[in-house]
Subunit: 376 residues, 2 copies
């Protein structure tokens, strides 16, 4: 009998001080690998997942958990379950199964599972261990790394939460094979973002490999996830609690969050961020920072990823929603703008008229109806 050779593990370190440092463990087929997770979990584990992901991957995961005693709780699938109620249900499960301070919460799923399970881990008995096992592209390159945990409030996304770094992140790109294509493409928006904010060479690599990525080619995917995680890890290590530079990760997000809110979450997060990045590039050009060519390249790359570039949103309503964004400081709207591909900065100086025009510039054009009033 030939035992299958163990999958290769790439390790990316998130270099935070002391005990908060942790590795991102990345590979193709890592999920059930023995001994990869063992150093990062305790003797008891609560796996938080949703029915779809648990059905696909919970059994495969078990060998990774070694001899730990494993309980499991499933939460609803979708952004509408990222609530204080779901959070309370996870806490109930921890308490009902008598989990102690030494337990490890394992979040197996996408961003919703990771964010709400992470918030439960952050606050159960004032903080227990957390391992993130992201199974969507968005979660692998973004939400599982960096310690942000949160639930939504009816008035806004991620309004309630905590910083709580995981003990480890295990990203297995093999799990992306079952991810619906629309959700997968939405994750590519964040990958494109890393090129825009920090690495023009990576951006150029994406321009030449987007077809392979859209086809979920494993080699291209491993490189894209690795480079995205490296960039995120470096930014997080520099500014763990988003008091400065970390804000650049929100490129396109202030617009994107407002689009999500105004359209009742008909856009996936990554789709809204794609439109938001188109708006942010438009704004950057209007402010005399980025040039037209950079903006066109971003639009072209997002389009190649199958992502939307416009949304049917009214600029005034957008501005109102954006003013309530968490990143607003004392009513001062702060936006990430692009100076050149690979270089962005945060500004509180963007004139309202320019922001308005940038939104208008990426507003879905409806074909005028014959009976419509076409006069301005």
């Amino acid at each position: 009998m030939n035992a299958a050779s163990p999958p290769a593990v790439q390790r990316i370190d998130v270099a935070l001080p002391g005990e908060r440092a942790y590795p991102i463990l990345l590979g193709d087929g890592l999920l059930g690998a023995v001994d990869v997770l063992a150093p990062h979990i305790g003797r008891r584990v609560l796996v938080v997942s949703n029915p779809a992901v648990a059905g696909l991957y919970l059994d495969a995961l078990r060998p990774s958990l070694g001899n730990a005693q494993v309980d499991c709780v499933e939460i609803g699938d979708g952004e509408q379950f990222k609530t204080l109620e779901t959070y309370a249900a996870i806490l109930d499960a921890l308490i009902e199964k008598r989990h102690h301070r030494t337990t490890t919460v394992v979040a197996l799923g996408g961003g919703v599972v990771g964010d709400v399970a992470g918030f439960a881990a952050a606050t159960y008995q004032r903080g227990v261990g957390l391992v993130q096992i992201p199974t969507t592209l968005l979660a692998q390159v973004d939400s599982s790394v960096g310690g942000k945990t949160a639930v939504n409030h009816s008035a806004g996304k991620n309004m309630i939460g905590a910083f709580h770094q995981p003990r480890a992140v295990l990203a297995d790109v093999a799990t992306l094979k079952t991810l619906p294509l629309r959700e997968y493409r939405a994750g590519l928006a964040e990958v494109v973002k890393y090129g825009v904010i920090a690495d023009v060479e990576f951006f150029a690599w994406l321009e030449t490999h987007m077809d392979e990525l859209v086809a979920k080619d494993a080699k291209a995917l491993l490189h894209a996830v690795q480079r995205s995680c490296q960039i995120k890890a470096a930014v997080v290590a520099e500014d763990e609690r988003e008091q400065g530079r970390r804000a650049i990760l929100n490129f396109g997000h202030t617009f994107g969050h407002a689009i999500e809110a105004l359209t009742g979450f008909r856009y996936l997060h990554g789709e809204a961020v794609a439109v938001g990045m188109a708006m942010a590039m438009d704004l950057s050009v209007r402010l005399g920072r980025a040039n037209d060519r950079d903006a066109a390249r971003v639009r072209r790359l997002l389009d190649a990823a199958g992502l939307p570039l416009d949304a049917d949103v009214e600029p005034q309503a957008m501005l109102t929603a954006m003013a309530m964004d968490k990143k607003a400081l004392d009513d001062q709207l702060r936006l990430v703008v692009c100076d050149a591909l690979g270089r962005v900065c945060v500004t509180a100086q963007a004139p309202r008229a320019a922001v308005h025009a940038a939104i208008e510039g990426c507003r879905t054009r409806h074909t005028p109806r014959a009976s419509g009033n076409s006069a301005a």
Copy 2:
């Protein structure tokens, strides 16, 4: 016109790293003092209080808040309101009034207000500023200092929460004048605790000044609160997140929490802790650590403070409740025991039989009824 001279302010520093360091500002009549709080609050404030305390002190507080825009939310008065529901109501108030990341939550009240408002501050937009203004003795010497925030779960006290250090603590002993005597005496239990765990001279001072303290003599009170806060600040600075030495602050508390749970919170926290300390001293003597004389001195001092020394609790039920205590690590019961007045340590080695006997030793003796079965 003679302006009243400003009240004297004693400052005790909680020496935590970087931005987490903060002062405890202590005095008699400090509440409305101008410029004492100003450096520690932002331009917007949400005061969290309860109807009784707000009625007494909210107007008096206003001058301290300077030019800040002040909103206020009142929560129910009592331990039964220390819940996720109350927490959610505070978050709703923050969101409804459109508070941003730069807001300051001001907790004006006792331990319940401080713990639940603190948890809301810890998690609103992943953490906003917090100022504690404790108006009970218990909160002034214990719960307002050290960054522990929490709500209860039906299965146990403080099961959900976060570490979130305040920007400042303002302790005005003048507010204790309106505190009901029973609640005031309960706070003295924690004061006695500091003598037992860390300072035999302070313990001896308490023995000679307990009558003045019970009479709320301002000078004695200032000294007692000051010394208690100094001891707590030193322990917290050494071990912010209770990974070691900070556990000594729980002397008597594992017993006390079980008493509270088993008696449906008929005991105030400090009363339950008083009985718990009597049990912990009894256990310490049984383990050959403390001597009889030390145990007797603790009992006598608690009695002089008007605190109970026994409770009508069944030892087996106590042991079960104690096993679920947050401080239990992987089902190992960890208890703080006393080696001599002023010196304690944590042990996981106390034999179950000795703990059982210590509980039995402080169990309320009912007079046997004529019809009862008096055979063992």
